[in-house]
């Protein structure tokens, strides 16, 4: 009835929703999941941001399971990992990197305390032999057991753990922690056969469908140094091994350690704890060039280990050592100066690196060897079908974290091989870089500091040096994560859209763009704290 309309009104009043302003758009916002730098840097391949997301809500069990998907030793690596994730962390450019390693340790300890277990799949009927119970072997055993395979681990030592037990001192890794995480793997059905060195892979392989070799690098390198009959020389690997097995090595009060790696630091710090009054590390280059991790060097110095950089040992006798001073040439290589000096020393510990005993693959000509290690493909495959290898015996960075990554990678490959399938590689993701973040939204928050053991107790006992976080500090630290490149539902896009065109979905479902009304202004992209939205051109 037209007559009922007010004066001068000819059209029915309606909502502006009839006006589809999305037609104005030339670009549209798209939610993305990028690769956070922590994940990118982790040798064990952990999706760190993903498990921190759960830790942020205090859901520690889900967070722990997130770690376990890649790393079965969180309490161990939470203590001994050199934290490439933290070096890569974008927050490091803002204030300080997130204490990822502390949170990992907290979650690992929580897993032990709560007795969380990992379910295993239906038995596959396949049997896999793992040679070596170090980090690579344990990692592979865990993942293979999880996937339903029967796993036997053979190891030469009396107890499993490899270099984590026989090379890393207790003050960095308490044995009850190592034992607890290994026990969890045994509880999954993995059979450990200790004191059973594998000397011939061909013979050992009988009865197994696949073999993973991870024998590590156990042989201390020697260097030719003229030494008199009375000189007391031993290698760092043997020293650390003896301490672990309860044999007290006779070191004397003046100990010189020759080398500049983490093992040299471990040896010097162990010597200090065994009563050496003034252990000295002799290294031929400078501190900046030392392969030892910065924190190891710092802690060693704190504990009273002295350093002699740019020095080589040229002679050892019953009274001490003769040291030659070095200088760096233009290419940074140390050159002898001809200047000599005497240092008193009761014992010289050689920490010059380690070699692998590869005699166990002597009967396998198709396993390629080069530079003292076994060559492997990207899936840790050797030239021999069904035989895989990882850890320190293959070319790689020699850390426990790298080894754990090798174990996981090998397990995926072995599983696929046993099932006659190919490994399905996850799609590659673009890296979430710092310049994609809008850091204005993040509160300034300093990193939570882990407590350290009193110095006087550090130098006199093998008690663990670093304390852990508690539930509240772990939560705080987890929430420092910037969630680089991955939406964490902060509602910013939903709030800042001038056209109400961002739709908020159910919790956990994130958001959607209402393309009927999105004009493509890009404010949501510019204001997303974590860079999880990007603009893409509209197809014309």
């Amino acid at each position: 009835m037209e007559h009922e309309k007010p004066f001068a009104i000819t059209l029915d009043v309606g909502s502006s929703r009839a006006n589809k302003t999305g037609a104005w758009r030339s670009e549209r916002p798209v939610y993305v999941d990028l690769l956070p730098p922590c994940n990118q840097a982790c040798p064990a391949g952990q999706d760190i941001q993903k498990w921190l997301y759960h830790a942020e809500s205090g859901d520690y069990e889900t967070a722990w399971r997130g770690i376990m998907a890649d790393n079965p030793l969180p309490a161990v690596l939470g203590r001994i990992c050199y934290r490439p994730c933290e070096s890569a962390c974008n927050r490091g450019q803002l204030d300080e990197a997130v204490g990822i390693n502390s949170i990992e340790r907290f979650l690992g300890d929580e897993g032990i305390e709560q007795g969380w277990t990992i379910p295993v799949a239906e038995p596959s009927g396949k049997r896999v032999l793992v040679v070596g119970a170090g980090p690579a072997g344990l990692s592979a055993a865990h993942h293979l057991a999880r996937l339903g395979h029967a796993v036997v681990v053979r190891d030469a030592e009396a107890a499993p753990g490899g270099m984590m037990r026989y090379g890393i001192p207790r003050y960095r890794l308490p044995r009850e922690v190592l034992d607890a995480e290994i026990r969890r793997i045994a509880d999954m059905g993995v059979v450990f056969e200790q004191n059973s060195r594998v000397t011939d892979v061909v013979a050992a392989k009988a009865g197994f469908d696949a073999v993973f070799l991870a024998v590590g690098a156990q042989v201390g390198k020697r260097a030719y140094i003229p030494a008199g009959d009375t000189a007391h020389v031993l290698d760092a690997i043997s020293l650390l091994h003896d301490v672990e097995t309860g044999e007290q090595p006779l070191l004397g009060r003046r100990v010189a350690v020759y080398g500049g790696g983490n093992t040299a630091m471990d040896a010097a710090r162990t010597a200090k704890r065994l009563g050496a009054t003034d252990p000295v590390v002799v290294y031929r280059r400078t501190r900046a060039q030392m392969p030892a991790h910065e924190s190891e060097v710092t802690e060693a110095v704190e504990e009273g280990v002295s350093m002699r950089w740019l020095s080589t040992i040229s002679e050892i006798d019953g009274e001490g050592i003769t040291v030659q001073k070095m200088r760096l040439d233009e290419s940074g290589f140390p050159q002898p100066t001809g200047e000599f000096e005497r240092l008193a020393a009761d014992t010289v510990v050689l920490a010059l690196g380690q070699d692998t005993d590869l005699s166990l693959v002597d009967e396998l000509p198709d396993v390629e060897r080069a530079d003292g290690v076994v060559r492997v493909g990207p899936g840790m495959t050797t030239g021999h079908p069904g035989i895989f290898a990882g850890g320190d015996m293959v070319p790689s960075g020699r850390t426990a974290t790298v080894a754990v990554g090798h174990g996981a990678k090998a397990a995926r490959e072995i599983d696929a091989w046993l099932r006659g399938q190919a490994v399905s590689e996850p799609p590659t993701r673009r890296e979430a870089t710092f310049d994609n973040l809008n850091t204005w939204y993040y509160s300034d928050a300093d990193r939570t500091v882990r407590p350290h053991l009193d110095l006087s107790r550090r130098v006199s006992t093998f008690d663990e040096i670093k304390g852990g976080l508690d539930a509240s500090t772990a939560l705080f630290e987890a929430r420092r994560c910037l969630s680089c490149g991955n939406c964490f539902e902060c509602d910013n896009c939903y709030g800042v859209c001038p056209d109400n065109a961002v739709l908020k979905l159910e919790p956990g479902e994130r958001y959607a763009i209402d393309l009927d009304y999105c004009k493509g202004c890009g404010i949501c992209v510019a204001e997303c704290p974590c860079g999880a939205i990007e603009m893409v051109p509209e197809e014309t």
Binding site: R17, S57, Y442, S443, N492, A501, C521
Partner: protein, 331 residues
């Protein structure tokens, strides 16, 4: 060393919301049930700061009044882009009369409600800087002077944007507009002219005066909420960047408002009964140049040679604000 309280969740309280926030910590805008006072399909430009500022302020006012509220609107962008006949974007009771009389109309609505005994229904007047600072200023001053029970919100985009970017009494010095072109020895708007309405409102000693920007949602919502706790005349001045008039990228609207605050050129404060009671401190101080460079209305300052003398004069204004309103944290 001063202890900085850390407000978590994760991004602090600076993000709109967060999945871990309790209901008491939520912003109005983070709620799925927010009113959306101004609905989709409005014809504001891409990245319009005013559309955003109006939704922020009115949604917060709606929550503060339990959805019992009437909004009165001056002529200007906000009115034009939201109500082209026969569409409306308003999902709240909304009145429009003329360019210059929004404060008077709001006063009238408040008086009518009072006469009917409906003191539960509250009134919000709103307009751009043209309708507020210049054309409606007499009505606004009268509203203040009589202490009428109205919250008046000015969405300041620093010129007459609706009619083609002409200078207003809120246009800052050196800015180029259609009527203050970038020519001559002193290009752009003249130094020393214009009106500072928040300070004029303060001088009326009304119950509540505050400034805010679209870059700090929680601050804006808190101020609207606080304003509704008072009876009598209240004034809120919100900086809303205009991509079209300022010549800024549409995605930079919030960033530019943030730079205005962080440089000190737009002081954010709160006053009750003629006294300043709080200022929003600068978190990461930036030079005004960072703010100016993102806008083509200042492009003539960055030509060859650059007008460093003019930039310095603008920096001096920001520095004066920082001193005058104590915008930096005490060391």
């Amino acid at each position: 060393m001063a202890v900085t309280p850390i407000k978590f969740y994760q991004t602090g309280s600076f993000a709109v919301g967060g999945r871990l926030l309790g209901d008491d910590q939520r912003s109005v805008q983070s709620g799925r049930q927010r009113i959306n006072s101004i609905d989709c399909g409005h014809r504001a430009c891409q990245g319009c700061g005013e559309a955003l500022g109006a939704r922020y302020a009115l949604d917060a006012a709606m929550r503060a009044t339990g959805n019992r509220m009437v909004a009165v609107n001056a002529t200007g962008c906000l009115e034009v882009f939201s109500t082209p006949y026969p569409e409306t974007s308003w999902r709240i009771p909304w009145l429009h009369s003329l360019f210059g009389n929004a404060p008077a109309v709001a006063t009238g609505v408040a008086a009518a409600l009072k006469a009917k005994g409906r003191t539960d229904v509250r009134v919000v007047g709103q307009g751009g800087d043209g309708g507020t600072v210049d054309i409606g200023f007499a009505c606004l001053s009268g509203m203040f002077e009589r202490n009428d029970d109205v919250l008046y919100i000015c969405y300041d985009n620093e010129a007459y944007m609706n009619t083609g970017v002409q200078r207003s009494g809120a246009t800052p010095p050196a800015a180029r507009t259609a009527t203050t072109p970038a020519v001559g020895a002193e290009p752009g708007a003249v130094f020393g002219q214009g009106k500072n309405v928040p300070m004029i409102a303060l001088a009326h000693e009304i119950p509540y005066v505050a400034t805010a920007t679209v870059a700090d949602l929680r601050d804006l919502e808190a101020k609207v909420t606080r304003a509704m706790e008072f009876r009598g005349a209240r004034y809120l001045h919100v900086l809303v960047p205009c991509p079209l008039g300022w010549g800024s990228a549409s995605h930079d609207t919030i960033r530019i408002a943030r730079l205005a605050k962080e440089s000190g050129i737009f002081p954010v404060f709160e006053a009750e009964h003629g006294e300043i009671v709080a200022t929003s401190k600068i978190r990461h101080r930036v030079p005004v140049e960072d703010y100016l460079r993102r806008q083509t209305r200042y492009a003539h300052l960055f030509g060859d040679p650059p007008r460093t003398d003019v930039i310095e004069k603008i920096q001096a204004l920001a520095d004066r604000n920082i001193r005058r309103f104590a915008l930096l944290e005490e060391a």
